[in-house]
């Protein structure tokens, strides 16, 4: 079966520091995947490369059914191709309402003139309400995003991702700063989303990863160290040495 995203032999160096070193990693069309690894393992850089923020020195990033390379594309083109990203720190548009935030993310035409002449439709309104329902922000639709609690902002950002309707969701630390109940809900949202698309979650929190019940990829020094179920990778001696060992040392 052909892959949704194939990252092949990618390397990137910042001022002599090799952030990503010959990294190869693939994602299927509908799967949930967790990426873990110690600080500086290259998790965020990997996301930067896939979303076009960072250009790698070498390697290939091949996307979708048409097998196009993402390397020549701008960030906005890649986003329109169907790759959505949630940042580590919740970044929503704080000066605007929850509804406006979701409306901006909604999968509609992105050109300036289409946007200028954009008219609200019942269909889009319903879609916004569906997404709000999914992330539990129905009551907050008219509130300014800046007034939301930390957890609600995280959900709003996840909601914006869902509204974008991407084929690949890159989610950076979705559970950071959440209460246990909030985490549970976030897990549900992500698992539900992964039924129809690829969802890649970067996370530090092992408990959260365990609850996702998915394939885990361990990154270390910019390349894949191990891959498999959480139990498999956590019992892998190299992983224990470089990652878990460090935490208990």
């Amino acid at each position: 079966m052909s892959m949704l995203l194939e990252v092949d032999g990618v390397s990137v160096t910042f001022d002599g520091f090799r952030a990503i070193n010959n990294l190869s990693i693939n994602f299927a069309k509908a799967e949930l995947r967790a990426i873990i690894g110690p600080n500086g393992a290259g998790k965020t850089t990997f996301m930067d490369i896939v979303t076009g923020k960072t250009k790698p020195d070498e390697g290939k990033v091949i996307w979708g059914d048409r097998n196009v390379s993402l390397l020549g594309m701008s960030e906005s083109q890649i986003a329109r191709e169907g790759i959505g990203r949630k940042f580590q720190k919740p970044t929503v548009f704080e000066a605007q309402t929850v509804r406006q935030n979701l409306a901006m993310a909604l999968k509609t035409k992105r050109g300036p003139f289409a946007v200028l002449t954009h008219r609200k439709t019942v269909e889009n309104g319903t879609r916004i309400e569906e997404v709000a329902e999914q992330v539990g922000l129905t009551e907050q639709l008219t509130r300014t995003a800046g007034e939301l609690s930390h957890g609600q902002k995280q959900w709003l950002e996840i909601g914006m991702l869902l509204a974008q309707d991407p084929r690949l969701m890159l989610v950076d630390e979705p559970a950071a700063g959440m209460t246990p109940e909030e985490r549970e809900k976030t897990t549900d949202i992500l698992r539900e989303a992964a039924k129809t698309r690829a969802v890649v979650v970067v996370e530090h929190d092992m408990e959260f990863v365990r609850r996702l019940e998915c394939k885990v990829t361990v990154l270390h020094e910019g390349s894949v160290l191990a891959e498999g179920s959480l139990d498999q990778v956590t019992s892998n001696q190299t992983v224990i040495d470089v990652y878990l060992g460090r935490g208990h040392a």
Binding site: T51, K53, S74, E75, S76, Q77, A79, R80, G84, R85, F87, T91, F93, E94, A95, Q96, Q100, A103, M104, A105, R110, G111, P112, V115, L116, H118, K120, M160, Q164
Partner: protein, 388 residues
């Protein structure tokens, strides 16, 4: 659609109403159309102020809404003034030359007429040749088109180069300052084709309206300025409302995030930069016939900085704030620098406002930035109860 748009933006309706009342009041008090309490020169000052309000609204859209601190928008204002000034000067000189040649035994050839006009206009910089940029100066329609096309194209090319290279923040501001400085320095040259530092003058004399008194001309231009401000305000209020407004404000607050949502940020910036440049030029084209003269000193970098100061004092990110800031500060400025404000004798030193006004303005700017970031327009937030 318009009805719902106004309904959703009550401030637009209030602004248009206030502008209409103001226009009516000035009309009824002017020399030409009213009881004559307001002098013709003051009507011109008010008309010019409305043009400054319009360019301030454009500045607010590009800076307050889109987050691009352009310190070069007055260049576009000046280009608009030059574009209309070329036609005004050409057409008026032509009619004077033709008048002086009436009754000559041998009718003058077109070449002789052209030379005579050229001599009149460019004699001051030691030339009589028409430079290429005056090619359309004999046609009002083409020259009106230039008001839109020249600044539009300049903004498009400049913006494309700057935004494409992801130049942002203070670097972009410096670049826009360089643009207006370069343009001013070029125009200061005698061989720039626009009469060097003499600029274009006599613009208050409108060809075809020689028999109309300046009192009437001033009122007509005042009306035109009010109409332009109303139209510009309405247009920009529409642009920054709805989804476009969301995206534009999103770019201001977090450009990268907007990009990852799939919007091509550069196109949006270019769009906003260009339409605001065009509106600035239209404001300039209405301003300079009321001022009577334009010279390169008008578009030196300081002018664009003042523009930013007006918007900051009035309140960024709200269109009426820009109008209030521009009107308030520019009128106050002419009061202080025009000798309207009484000097303050301190015994050992006398504060003369013509010298000290800039200090006062500078201090107010710093104070507003530090203590009232919402500007004068922010006061309206206390009047209107926010719907929660």
């Amino acid at each position: 659609m318009k009805k719902t748009f106004i309904g959703q933006n009550p401030s637009v309706m209030w602004f248009l109403l206030a502008l209409a009342v103001f226009t009516l009041a000035v009309t009824l008090l002017s020399e030409a159309t009213g009881i004559g309490i307001i002098s013709t020169s003051f009507v011109k000052t008010l008309g010019k102020t409305l043009c400054l309000c319009l360019v301030a609204v454009a500045m607010d859209v590009v800076w307050g809404y889109c987050g691009i601190l352009s310190l070069g928008h007055f260049a576009f204002f000046g280009i608009g003034g030059y574009a209309i000034g070329m036609w005004l000067m050409y057409a008026r000189t032509e009619s004077i030359v033709l008048e002086s040649l009436v009754g000559q035994p041998i009718p003058p050839t077109p070449q002789e007429i052209s030379d005579a006009i050229g001599n009149q206009i460019f004699g001051v910089v030691g030339s009589s040749e028409f430079p290429a940029i005056w090619a359309f100066a004999d046609s009002l329609v083409l020259q009106l088109l230039m008001i839109v096309l020249v600044p539009g194209l300049l903004a498009l090319i400049f913006g494309w180069l700057a935004f494409r290279s992801r130049v942002t923040g203070v670097y972009l501001s410096i670049l826009t300052q360089a643009m207006t400085l370069a343009l001013a320095l070029y125009l200061f040259q005698n061989d720039s084709g626009l009469r060097g530092n003499n600029g274009l003058s006599g613009l208050q004399n409108i060809p075809g309206f020689e028999n109309t008194s300046q009192a009437w001309v001033s009122v007509i231009f005042f009306w035109a300025s009010a109409l332009a401000l109303a139209a510009g305000y309405l247009f920009f209020a529409w642009v920054v409302s709805g989804k476009m407004g969301s995206v534009v404000k999103g770019i201001r607050d977090n450009e990268a995030r907007v990009r990852f949502l799939g919007y091509h940020v550069e196109s949006y910036k270019l769009f906003i930069f260009t339409i605001t440049a065009i509106v600035a030029a239209i404001a300039g084209a209405l301003y300079y016939p009321q001022a009577g003269i334009i010279n390169p000193g008008e578009i030196t970098p300081i002018a664009s900085i003042y523009l930013a100061v007006w918007v900051a004092i009035g309140g960024r990110g709200r269109l009426y704030g820009a109008v209030i800031g521009a009107a308030f500060v520019s009128l106050l400025s002419s009061w202080f620098t025009g000798g309207g404000a009484p000097d303050i004798p301190l015994g050992f030193y006398t504060i003369q406002w013509t010298d000290w006004w800039l200090v006062l303005l500078g201090v107010s700017f710093v104070a507003v930035t530090l203590f009232f970031p919402k500007g004068i327009g922010g006061l309206f937030d206390y009047l209107v109860r926010k719907p929660s």
